[in-house]
Symmetry: C2
Subunit: 74 residues, 2 copies
DNA sequence: TAAAAAATTATCGTAAAACGATAAATAATT
DNA sequence: AATTATTTATCGTTTTACGATAATTTTTTA
C-alpha cells in the first residue's frame, strides 16, 4: 500500500482541529482520527467530498501516492 | 456529491484500454467501468493504489473535487 | 504540575458498498 | 458484418465504513 492520507497539512493550513472538522463533516472524531492516521482501507467519496468542502481543497491535497518503501505493511 | 473520478484522461494519456488496465490492476472490467463512470460510492485505497501504480500518476490526477452544480444527485 | 481538552485507540454492531462472477446489451473498431 | 471493447445489470460474499461508546494517551492551558 502506498496511498497516504495527509489530512494534517491542510488542517494545519486551515487552522482547524480534529473535533471541529469532525463536526463539520458529520463524522465522529474517532473515525476521523482513523482516517487521518492512515488506518482506513477505503473512503467513501461522499466523505472525501465533505472533507474537500470543509477544507476547501482538492483530493490531491489529501491523498498521495508514494512508491512503496520498505517497512510498510497492508 | 462533487467528487469526480476522471480515469479517462490518464488512460488516454497512457494509451491503455479498460480491459488492459483492468487486468493490470486485478479488477474485473465491469467493476473498473463502474469506477470510471462515477458509479462508485467509495474506493479502496488499495485499488486507488493499483491504479496510480499502473497509470503512473497521483490520486489528484484521477479524483477531482468540483463544486456542486445543479442537476447532480447522490 | 494539575486539570482540562484534544486526540488516539479499541470494541461491538449495523449498514453500506466493493468486488467477483457472470451474462446480456450497447458501442466502437476493423 | 463480424469482432472487440465497453457498459449495464444481477446476485452473492466479503470487506469496510461508520456510529456509539468508553478508555487511554497526548497535548494544551491555567
Amino acid at each position: 500500500m502506498a496511498i497516504i492520507v495527509q489530512l494534517d497539512v491542510m488542517m494545519a493550513k486551515r487552522k482547524i482541529g480534529l473535533m471541529e472538522l469532525a463536526e463539520k463533516i458529520n463524522i465522529t472524531p474517532a473515525n476521523l482520527s482513523i482516517l487521518k492516521n492512515n488506518k482506513a482501507k477505503a473512503i467513501r467519496l461522499s466523505t472525501l467530498d465533505e472533507i474537500c468542502k470543509a477544507l476547501d481543497c482538492q483530493p490531491g491535497d489529501i491523498l498521495e501516492y508514494k512508491e512503496d518503501e520498505d517497512g510498510e505493511e497492508n
